[in-house]
């Protein structure tokens, strides 16, 4: 089981690095949700089922949805800005 924990820990670190290194925000957010799910598994390993539940529902789930939703509006705003620029020039 120790091997599993080592792999899980490395997985957490890799997922976090992925969030930071990814050039696309969308991929960052997806990796963030993956990080949250891995963390939920980690909490069960630390005998904290409450935290596993909370992390899956709040940390990964809701926060992920909020980020994705914001990403959508940011994209729209960007398109709008670009279009405005084109019509002005």
């Amino acid at each position: 089981m120790i091997v599993f924990d080592i792999l899980l820990g490395i997985g957490l670190i890799l997922a976090a690095s992925g969030v930071f290194l990814s050039a696309q925000l969308f991929r960052s957010v997806v990796l963030f949700v993956v990080f949250g799910l891995l963390l939920a598994i980690t909490w069960t390993r630390l005998q904290a089922p409450d935290l596993a539940l909370a992390e899956a529902a709040i940390g990964a789930g809701l926060t992920g949805v909020l980020f994705l939703d914001t990403l959508g509006t940011l994209r729209k705003a960007k398109h709008k800005r670009h279009r405005k620029k084109e019509t002005h020039s």
Binding site: L53, L62, L66, D69, T73
Partner: protein, 229 residues
């Protein structure tokens, strides 16, 4: 140039943090207080069988009260920053039959699960916050499917948001009228009062998270590009 300098500086700070944290973690002295033992000893008196719920809603209920206040502050600011056109059309997606069908099956399931999680919190993992998150998830899905939830920032919504906090504070203060300290539960009533507080909190937390989603500026769901002109 300045960018690479910034990265170098950040790298130094990050390595310093890493070194300090590892040093601190590996050299932690033997703890002199055994809090889990005290929790176990007082669990029976707390009226709750699940130690984490006992800590959250009895031993350290003051933290939880302030935490609910934090949620309220976030949603009050969210309401203050909403845009007036936030109430406008979100009927567009309601026509999506797939989403609609999925929603109708998923919603009851989510709500039942949240009730179960809330109820199990008194003896097993679960509780108001996780259940509230599920209520919020249900609300967000319903909203995406075009249902009109919490879209009007009127007094009813504000009451719903504050209800959990109001009940919590009322129970906490009423102790003082009986000559007991703030946040104390009357003898023998702790279990049921905590469950009541948690149930109402679940509702308010769910509504809070939904409102933060629904009232976020810049259109909360993919509309058919109707605001571009």
């Amino acid at each position: 140039m300045s960018r690479s300098l910034r990265i170098a500086a950040a790298g130094i700070v990050a390595f310093g943090t890493l070194y300090a944290l590892i040093l601190a973690v590996l050299n932690a002295p033997q703890m002199q207080v055994n809090l889990p033992q005290q929790v176990a000893l007082n669990l029976e008196q707390s009226g709750i069988d699940h130690p984490i719920t006992a800590v959250l809603l009895n031993f350290r209920s003051y933290d939880t009260l302030l935490e609910v206040a934090v949620l309220l502050v976030a949603v009050v600011t969210g309401l203050a920053l909403r845009e007036r056109d936030a109430l406008t059309a979100h009927t567009e997606q309601a026509r999506d039959p797939m989403l609609h069908a999925l929603t109708r099956r998923l919603l009851p399931l989510l709500l039942i699960t949240s009730v179960y999680i809330l109820w199990s919190g008194s003896y097993a993992p679960g509780g108001a916050f996780q259940a509230g998150a599920l209520v919020a998830a249900a609300g967000v899905i319903a909203r995406l499917a075009g249902y009109d939830i919490a879209s009007r920032a009127d007094v009813l919504l504000r009451l719903g948001l504050a209800l959990g906090f109001i009940l919590f504070l009322t129970v906490a203060v009423s102790a003082m009228f009986g000559g007991r300290p703030f946040l104390n539960y009357p003898e023998g009533w702790a279990g049921s009062l905590i469950f009541l507080i948690e149930a109402v909190l679940t509702f308010s937390i769910g509504l809070t998270l939904i409102s933060l989603f629904v009232h976020a500026p810049g259109d909360s769901s993919p509309r058919g590009g109707d605001d571009d002109d």
